[in-house]
């Protein structure tokens, strides 16, 4: 005598340890197996039911699959029911065994008992494979006009599965689907709406055009739902079948999209729903939410849209987080169509950014990004910066880069732009991408009037303990370029004075260099900065030399090489100032274009027939400080061109003073196997887009060497 299902469940529940449970299961599985082997028909469905319980606990039960098929082929309803349940739980569309059940399914689909047909439809709708779907599609289509609503509604949903498995059959269901929306039973209607929705999704515009003629039918259904009084069978939260309303509204949206006539036909009912449905219960809000989506999705008139946006505004101020969430979700979709309407709710949306719920925060942030424009950037950025300080760590990278991008796009003036970015980098510099730091550097280099101010700001931020990475990159670069401006007078209004002396700046660099840093990139930049300052601060140059010499033994090859090369510069006192000239303003377009662009343009330099390209390329600037030589000697035409441009860019005063030695030394440098890389990078004038601030890596060096050759041969 076999154990009853209830007894098995009880004995499993009474097990105190996992081992005990395994023992009980193993024993029961053995009994069930034997029963299967002996072909025990009387208790087969009970055994399969027990097996399903064991399956739910996570034990292997493959040996029961065939028994399920046998149960399905049995004649009584209880047996079939457990058989189908087992089929749906233990098998899915990928198993070969499933093919064996096709014939039983076919028989059951045609069974005159509606419950048995229902079981078959349910199984087919849940796990049909493509082959089964193809084989059984005609039967299912017939069942959509069955006399029992119970069968019709299941057949409608089953058809969706068939369509998804075999999309080319979709067209054959158009007629049946159109018939179903005239049904009076709500279950059938829900299925029909979903079926047409899926047909429209599968077959696209052609299907949508076909079903557009049904819009009046749908409007009639909606009307009867909205206007009918209390219906006990379908009442939820004071509404008649909100589920059906939601599906109908969704279908109306698909059919009305981009079609003025259809949109016009439904505008009355949409207005009715928007004004009459009460939003004090979840069901009502679900309908309103769907209605708003439809209004915004179809070609509605302006008045209707205002109504919809107002509903969303009401949602936003709701205390229920769910409602606020869907409102934000919807506003995010609307913002692309009608930014002005969403702007009105800006302050509420900004409040949502600080919500304790991460789902709401994320939605609100997305929306805020979309809402920012030139007129509100200052206030919104302030809010976002405040939030940046308190936000979760997982949020910061995204938030930081979004703020940078927004500031970049909408900044009202350069000073605000620089201030804000420095603030962002100060708070979350670790998350700022290198491109953003670079963009800021380009901006600073193109704003000579703000350079003294910027360098003062950066200096004061850098002197605080542990500046963040992005801030270091920008700060160090600016100190190197404009360090001398720290000592100038002329504060901007409402600016705090900074007490900086040559010695204090050098000390700062020395401390920063000593800090244990993960990245050698920063160290390399610090060295470049230090050597550059040697020409800005002539009095401190002995200390600077001493600092550089400390790093000649660095374990990082790149740092070591720089330290050696930069120290070597002190030997060539005459050209050092020229080599360490300020960089010309960086080309703003270059920040956007990629590296490929550069090498292409670089290549054109040694092609004599393209002087124009050469003039616009970054290379001429690269040559300038190292080639501060005026064209005292005959030079090739494009070189003259290049040098002319340099003269315009910056007066080559230092080089003018000592033209002859410069040539010699340059030749000397070029002739020297080791030295050449140093001066060029030290001058820091070749702006590779990846890191404009550091000396080019060896790879970059090969890029510019042709240019150098052109240059030196011209000089000879």
């Amino acid at each position: 005598m076999s154990l009853r299902l209830r007894e098995l469940i009880r004995s499993v529940r009474s097990c105190k340890t996992a081992a005990e449970e395994r023992a009980v299961i193993a024993k029961e599985c053995a009994t069930i197996r034997t029963a299967f082997k002996e072909n025990d028909v009387q208790y087969r469905h009970r055994n399969v039911a027990k097996l399903l319980f064991i399956h739910m606990l996570g034990y292997p039960t493959h040996f029961g699959q065939m028994e399920c098929l046998k149960l399905i082929a049995a004649t009584t309803f209880p047996e079939k029911r457990i058989g189908y349940l087992g089929l749906m739980l233990m098998l899915d569309e990928r198993q070969e065994v499933l093919m064996l059940v096709t014939n039983s399914l076919k028989n059951d689909l045609c069974h005159k008992n509606q419950y048995i047909a229902g079981l078959a439809l349910c199984a087919l709708g849940n796990i049909a494979s493509a082959e089964m779907a193809r084989d059984l599609a005609p039967e299912v289509e017939k069942l959509m006009s069955n006399s029992h609503a119970y069968v019709r509604k299941k057949a409608a949903l089953c058809t969706i599965r068939i369509m998804k498995k075999v999309p080319e059959l979709t067209e054959t269901f158009y007629e049946a689907a159109s018939r179903l929306i005239r049904d009076r039973h709500h279950g059938v209607l829900v299925g029909a709406m979903q079926l047409i929705l899926d047909i429209c999704l599968t077959n696209g515009p052609s299907a949508i055009a076909e079903f557009r003629s049904k819009v009046p039918d749908l409007v009639r259904i909606m009307k009867s739902l909205v206007l009918s009084g209390f219906t006990p069978d379908h009442d939820i939260g004071g509404l008649t079948d909100p589920f059906l309303q939601v599906k109908t509204l969704r279908l109306l949206r698909i059919l009305g999209q981009g079609d003025a006539t259809a949109s016009d036909q439904m505008s009355d009912i949409l207005a009715q729903v928007a004004t009459n449905v009460e939003g004090n219960k979840n069901a009502g809000n679900a309908v309103l939410y769907e209605c708003v989506q439809t209004i915004m999705g179809v070609e509605s008139i302006g008045g209707l849209r205002v109504l919809a946006i107002n509903i969303l505004g009401r949602f936003l101020s709701n205390r229920d987080n769910n409602i606020r969430y869907v409102a934000l979700n919807m506003l995010a979709k609307v913002v692309a169509v009608d930014t002005q309407a969403v702007q009105r709710h800006r302050s509420t949306i900004v409040d949502c950014v600080k919500d304790s719920d991460v789902s709401i925060r994320r939605r609100a942030l997305d929306l805020v990004y979309a809402l920012v424009n030139a007129s509100n950037i200052t206030t919104l950025t302030k809010e976002l910066l405040e939030y940046l300080m308190v936000s979760d760590v997982e949020f910061k990278p995204d938030l930081t880069n979004k703020i940078c991008a927004l500031v970049q796009r909408f900044a009202p003036d350069k000073r605000w732009h620089i201030d804000t970015l420095i603030q962002v980098m100060d708070q979350a510099g670790g998350y700022v991408k290198d491109e953003q730091s670079r963009a800021l550097i380009v901006l600073i280099s193109n704003a000579p009037e703000l350079q003294p101010y910027t360098v003062r700001r950066l200096y004061s931020v850098l002197t605080q303990s542990h500046p963040q990475r992005a801030l270091l990159i920008v700060g160090v670069w600016c100190l190197g370029e404009y360090g001398d401006m720290l000592l100038l007078d002329g504060l901007l209004e409402d600016e705090e004075p900074v007490a900086a002396t040559e010695a204090s700046v050098v000390r700062l660099l020395e401390t920063l260099l000593k800090e244990p840093m993960e990245e050698t990139l920063i160290k390399e930049m610090l060295l470049t900065c230090t050597v550059k300052l040697s020409s800005r601060f002539p009095n401190s140059s002995p200390q600077i030399k001493a600092i550089l010499e400390q790093y000649q033994g660095s374990i990082s090859l790149e740092v070591q090489q720089r330290a050696c090369e930069y120290s070597r510069l002190f030997v060539h006192e005459a050209i050092r100032p020229a080599l360490l000239e300020n960089m010309p303003p960086l080309n703003e377009d270059l920040t956007a274009s990629g590296r490929a662009n550069i090498s292409m343009e670089g290549g054109s330099v040694d092609a004599p027939e393209s002087p124009v390209a050469a003039a616009t390329s970054p290379i001429p600037a690269a040559i300038s400080p190292s080639g501060q030589v005026p064209p005292t000697q005959p030079a090739s035409p494009q070189l003259v061109d290049l040098l002319d441009m340099n003269v315009v860019d910056e007066p080559a005063a230092p080089a003018m003073n000592a033209p002859a030695p410069a040539v010699d030394l340059l030749a000397d440098l070029l002739g020297d196997g080791v030295a050449p890389p140093a001066p060029m990078p030290a001058a820091g004038t070749y702006p590779p887009p990846t890191s404009p601030l550091s000396a080019p890596s060896p790879a970059d060096w090969t890029d510019i060497s042709p240019a150098l050759h052109v240059h030196s041969s011209a000089l000879d």
Partner: protein, 142 residues
């Protein structure tokens, strides 16, 4: 479309799982674990919606049981939330004051109810009365 439905208790035991998409067993275990972890410690004041991979989890807690639905991103969340409630009401009527143990001992009945309520991941019947009447008839057929 609903991808899967879970009924889980606070301890993380999955009392019922129904999948409308084919998944490997190991993947199912992983999902059960992940969904449970996401919903169990959430503050009740927060939304009942969670963005989960490329889908959304709509969940609702009833005493110690969590009902979670995994649905598509652009589905109407509020409507599914209402559907969970309707399902719970049906269970409550059917079992007369449903409790977790009812679901354990009558898991096959719960599946039966679910199959009357949802088919192929889509809502099948929206009337509580129709479903309860149908279940009574099916019970008679046993």
């Amino acid at each position: 479309m609903i991808r899967f439905i879970y009924l889980q208790n606070r301890q993380g035991k999955t009392r019922l799982a129904k999948y409308y998409v084919p998944l490997e067993d190991s993947e199912k275990r992983k999902l059960e674990y992940e969904v449970h972890r996401l919903v169990v410690n959430r503050d009740p004041k927060l939304t009942n919606f969670l963005e989960f991979r490329t889908h959304k989890i709509i969940y609702r807690r009833y005493a110690g049981l969590f009902f979670s639905l995994c649905v598509d991103m652009n589905d109407n969340e509020l409507s599914y939330l209402e559907a969970i409630h309707l399902f719970v009401e049906i269970l409550d009527h059917f079992f007369q004051n449903v409790c977790e143990l009812d679901l354990v001992f009558n898991f096959h009945k719960v599946y039966l109810i679910m199959d009357e309520f949802i088919l192929g991941g889509e809502l099948q019947e929206t009337s509580k009365k129709v479903i309860l009447d149908r279940l009574a008839e099916l019970d008679k057929a046993e």
